[in-house]
Structures are given as structure tokens and as C-alpha cells.
Subunit: 369 residues, 2 copies
């Protein structure tokens, strides 16, 4: 009735414990015939190695690295903040977190970081994907070396990464289009897409999804040419200002990258009027929160970085533990209006929960006499 141990496997396979151990831990030096018998016994018994016992025996510590772009991008700053907040808690679970900096949108420097990490490989690496053969090659080397590699936020489907943790960006773009269409009700309009860089897969996919639904279901809405703002607030601000100054009739803005504080500034001119365009942006940050609250933005599509980090960690741990892989589903983004803003994630006061379970409850055996 209880779970089979490796000793059971060895017995069933008719080999010694030592041989079974050599097979499951890939130590080599086992004849094929024997190894197959062990594998068969594992399958027959449904043996799953007891990770707790394994970790206990070798005093294992999980070492995970998050490679995060530098710069003033509010989303990545938020990501760093959350990582900093969960790190102490994770240490209790024998997990060490490290953040490696990398220049944004920069394949060569990402490759350099990955190559450096390969020298003393951690157990897992989470990185923001960049479409580039060199990065893919570095990833392949890491996975070959037994490192769990997970792409975060933006995927690299053609690489050897074990899993992608993030939202379905195409679907997010379609959702934005649907909301934009809803808000235009039955009237016509002209919509401006603002993005960071077409070289980023996530931005490309969002734009494609947005376009597809607008074209399909909302023919009365015209699409202006997209603006590439490199995720930099001042560039976005200038560009939007210029359009307004030229008197362009803009009924909606879909900002699918970062740099939204610039957008908020550019929209200040509509304060108090009812002529502000419908504004849909990505990522809940202090700035976008504020703009939502004050009624300057309408919708925020948030990829829930906290959930992403949790899933990335769980995935890396699962791969490191060599457990049968659970299917990874995309993160479901939160669609946020001024009415359903969640608490900021840094308001995580452990004791605020008001409960402390660190001493045994009065269970079967009595307390004091």
C-alpha cells in the first residue's frame, strides 16, 4: 500500500541496490541488459524517487538564477522587487535565488551572461527570451549540462528551453482589441498602437493579435501605424505629444510595451475633458495604477509577475527533481480596471496574516498535564 522504494525496485529487477542506484543516478558502468531490467521494474512498480529523502541525504540546496534586464523599465523593476521579497521565504525551503543583470533587448550580452553561468552551472535559470540563434545555442548547452532552463515573459519556442512561463501574448493582443472594440460601441475611431520593439517576440505577438481582431470584428476602427518607443517613457511621450499637436483624431491607444509614464504625461492635456482616447496598456506598475485610479487609463492587462515567478520556480524545481513533467499552461493575465485593482504585491507582511503555525497544535497527544 505504500510507495515502493529503490530497494523494492532492485529486488524486483533481481539486482543489487547498488546497481539500481547506478541506473537511476546515471552513474554509468551498467550493462544494457541489466539497466533495462531496472527500468522495467521502475515502470512496473511505478517507482518515484522520494525527493525529500534525496534532498535530505545530500543536504541539497536549490540554486536558481533569474536573468533580468536592467534599466528603468517599471515592469522589470517590479519583477526584481518581488524576487527580493520571496527570497528570504525561499531560503527556508533550501532554495537560493540570484538575480543576474543583462542589458535589455541585447542578444550578445545575454549570451555572455549565459556562458558565464555555465562555468558553475546553477540548478535552474529563468531568462527573458530573445529570438537569436546564438542565445538558442547557449540555452542548448545549458540544458545539455542538466540545467533547468525556463523562458520568462517572452518565449523562444525554437530553443531547447524546457518550458515557457508567461502569458499568451497573441491572446492578450486579441483581448485588448475586444476591449477597444467594446469601448467604441457603435462609433468609428482611429487607434494608435505603441510598442517597445518589433524585435521582441512578445510585442510582435500582441500587435498581431490586436490587429487580427480589429480587422475581423471592428471594421469601423482604423489602425494608425504603430510607434516603436523602445520602452522609453520620454520617447513615447514625445511621439504621442506630436501626434496630438498635429491635431490627429485619436480615439484609442494600445500601449503594449513599457514607458507608460510618458504616455500618462502626454494624456494630461485631456484632464477634465471627455475627449480623452480610450487607453489600454500592459503591466500594473505604480504609474499605471495611479493613472487607472485617476481615470487617465481605462484598462491594464497585467501578466501577474508574482504568479510568473511562482510558476517559474515550481517548474525549475520540478525539472531539477527529475519528476515527471507537469504540463505548463500559460499564465492568465489579469484585466484590471479602476474597480478591481489588487493590493500591491509588496504589501506582503508575513505576520499580517495574523496566524502563526510554528508550534504544534493540540493534536492526538495531549498538551500540558
Amino acid at each position: 500500500m505504500k510507495a515502493p522504494t529503490l530497494a523494492d525496485v532492485a529486488r524486483r529487477a533481481g539486482v543489487s541496490y547498488a546497481t539500481a542506484d547506478r541506473v537511476v543516478n546515471a552513474r554509468g558502468g551498467v550493462a544494457d541488459a541489466r539497466a533495462d531490467r531496472v527500468r522495467q521494474a521502475i515502470a512496473d512498480l511505478g517507482y518515484v524517487r522520494n525527493v525529500a529523502a534525496a534532498n535530505l541525504s545530500q543536504g541539497r540546496v536549490y540554486r536558481f538564477v533569474f536573468v533580468i534586464p536592467t534599466g528603468t523599465n517599471a515592469f522589470f523593476l517590479h519583477l526584481r522587487m518581488i524576487l527580493g521579497a520571496v527570497a528570504p521565504r525561499l531560503r527556508l525551503e533550501r532554495t537560493e535565488l540570484r538575480i543576474e543583470d543583462v542589458a535589455a533587448f541585447d542578444a550578445p550580452s545575454l549570451v555572455a551572461v549565459l556562458r558565464a553561468l555555465a562555468l558553475s552551472p546553477p540548478d535552474g535559470i529563468a531568462l527573458v527570451g530573445i529570438d537569436s540563434p546564438e542565445v538558442a545555442a547557449a540555452v542548448a548547452d545549458l540544458t545539455a549540462a542538466g540545467v533547468a532552463v525556463v523562458t520568462l515573459v517572452s518565449d523562444m519556442p525554437d530553443s531547447a528551453r524546457h518550458a515557457y512561463v508567461g502569458i499568451d501574448n497573441c491572446s492578450a493582443g486579441r483581448t485588448a482589441a475586444r476591449l477597444m472594440g467594446l469601448a467604441h460601441a457603435r462609433g468609428p475611431g482611429r487607434v494608435l498602437p505603441v510598442l517597445g520593439s518589433l524585435s521582441a517576440r512578445d510585442h510582435r505577438e500582441r500587435l498581431a493579435g490586436f490587429r487580427a481582431i480589429l480587422a475581423q470584428d471592428f471594421p469601423q476602427i482604423a489602425l494608425l501605424p504603430e510607434f516603436e518607443g523602445r520602452d522609453r517613457a520620454e520617447l513615447v511621450e514625445q511621439a504621442v505629444e506630436r501626434l496630438f499637436d498635429r491635431g490627429e483624431a485619436i480615439s484609442g491607444i494600445y500601449s503594449l510595451g513599457a514607458g507608460n509614464s510618458g504616455l500618462a504625461r502626454a494624456l494630461a492635456r485631456f484632464e477634465g475633458t471627455d475627449r480623452r482616447p480610450v487607453v489600454i496598456v500592459h503591466e500594473l506598475t505604480p504609474r499605471t495604477r495611479e493613472a487607472l485610479g485617476s481615470g487617465n487609463f481605462d484598462v491594464v492587462i497585467d501578466q501577474r509577475p508574482g504568479a510568473e515567478i511562482a510558476l517559474a520556480l515550481a517548474t525549475m524545481r520540478q525539472i531539477s527533481d527529475r519528476l515527471p513533467a507537469a504540463p505548463i499552461r500559460p499564465i492568465i493575465p489579469a484585466i484590471i480596471f479602476q474597480d478591481n485593482m489588487p493590493e500591491p504585491e509588496d504589501s506582503a507582511l508575513p505576520e499580517a496574516a495574523g496566524l502563526d503555525h510554528t508550534t504544534a497544535p493540540p493534536g492526538r497527544q495531549g498538551g500540558l498535564t
Copy 2:
């Protein structure tokens, strides 16, 4: 540099290992002065008991029970399905799941189930809350007996439950109102709320949130009296049919409970016309999926039962492990249009991930020779 063990604590407190053990496991028979010294040493060293080692030593199996309402309610059927799907995987992690049936909206039978469970108490219980003093009393007895109790879907804030796992229903109602308002653009309208029962806290809260935002931001939308459909499709269908037959001008329907297949049938009469009201419902089920896809519903607010189950399990495990309680944040509901429907959760084919990590990768020590 490594984590302190209980032996370290004992040494620091100047007591024997046995005494320290008696303190952390509440076995009793320790003089106050000594116990305090042990507790002080624990605090000084930041000792956290090694759960893996503890579970290993006693061959521990977590026993968790989900108490789920019976009936044809599609949401709860879905919840049961997901529980069935995760159960085998959890068994690998020494966790046993059981489902207990209970009549819906029925406090006495919930109390009976809880009392029965108390006879051989599991490690954790997740239940759908019902506001009733008797239920609260039963919950208090369970928590006093050391059982981790979590409310699911609908909370009981005044009970002794350890945590609530579910969405912020008030916020969800506000979100529905915002979407309804958006879809009404600047035109007037009349909106019908359909709910299961005002005795259910979650339904009450959604309705309150919905009302508040409509009143505050959309004065041009009139609110019809709400209909209580007991979550039963045929009742909902009849009631809505009757209203339409009477020629009521209805521009929007907010269905905040179950029974949406009845609603979909009642809306069939608008097929092909553009006079269908705006329809916002809760919970993604096969029926609401279909209605979204065919364009009969506009928005589904889904409380993501899979995420709820995962969080409930994690919470119960954490409480059972007597770890410092992490703050529990509400589940963020998914807002779903026809454009961003996620894969059904039962499409979870473990092997579909295409990866199997059950054998050691070629790590530090070489493979075959």
C-alpha cells in the same frame, strides 16, 4: 552557513535534544523556564524545522478533504473534475485527496459532514463557506483539533477558518459593472441581475459591488430587480423567457450565479439579430464556453478553479507543516472573451509536455564510459 538543526537549538538553550523536541512537538512535561529558553534559542537561531526530514521520518501522508456541493452546478462539477485530475499526481507527493459530498446551500448537512470528519480528522479540509453559526462552530472545533481549515469560493470571515481561498467577489461585481458600462458606451439601458441565492455570501457581495459602480459611474443604466434562480438552469430560463415575452426592454444581463445553460437557451431567440442584450456571466464551463464562442455571451468572469485548488492545497500543506503563514491573497479572476479562452483544464496530458526528466541528466559525473 547552513540551517540550524534542532540539535543546535538544544545546545544553544543548554538543554538536551529530548527536551527541545518536547517543546517543538508540544509533548508537555517541560518546566516553563526551560521551555522559554528553548523558544528563545529557536528565535535566536532562526530555526525552522526541516519538513522533509520530519515527513520522511514518520512516513507521513497528507490527508486533505474537499467538501463540495452535489448537484448539476457546472462549476462544482468542473471543480470535481480538476480534483480528480490532480489526485494521481499528488499521490506522488504523499498527498491523498478525498471529496466529500454535501447538499448545496444547506448548512445542517454541511455541519453533519464536518462533524463526521472530526471523528477521524484529516490534515486539512477545504469547504465552501455558508454563513451560519452552527457551521462556524463546527469549523472552530476542527481548527481547535489541529485541522487546517480553508474556505473555498465563498468565505466565512467570522469563523475560525485559517484562510479564504477564492476571488474578491465584491471586486468581481464592480468589474462586471464596469464592463457593462463600457459596453453601454454613452447610451441608456436596463440591466437585469440574475443570481443563485442572496443567502450565499459570494452572490451577495457580487451584487453589492455591481450595484455600487453602476450607481456611481453609470447613472444612465437602470437596474431591474434581481432574480433569484437557485442556480438552477430551468428556473433561470423560465424567468428570463417571461421577461422577454412581456416585452421588457433589457439591454444587459449580469448572471452572477450558476444555471447559465438556461440563460443561453433563453437568449436563442436573438440569434442572428443585433438586439441581444449584453451578457456577462460567471464561471467558464462547457456551456459558457460554447455561448462565448458562438457570440451569445459577451464576457465570462472565471474564478479559475484550478488556481483555487492549487492555492488551497498549498495553504493546507503549509498550515499542516506548521510553517510561518504566508499571506494569502485573493485569486485574481480571469476575464474572458471569445478571443482569450484558455485551453480546457482537462486537456492536461502529462506526456503532452513532451519532456520527461525521470532520469538524471549528464551532470558533473560522466555518463557511460
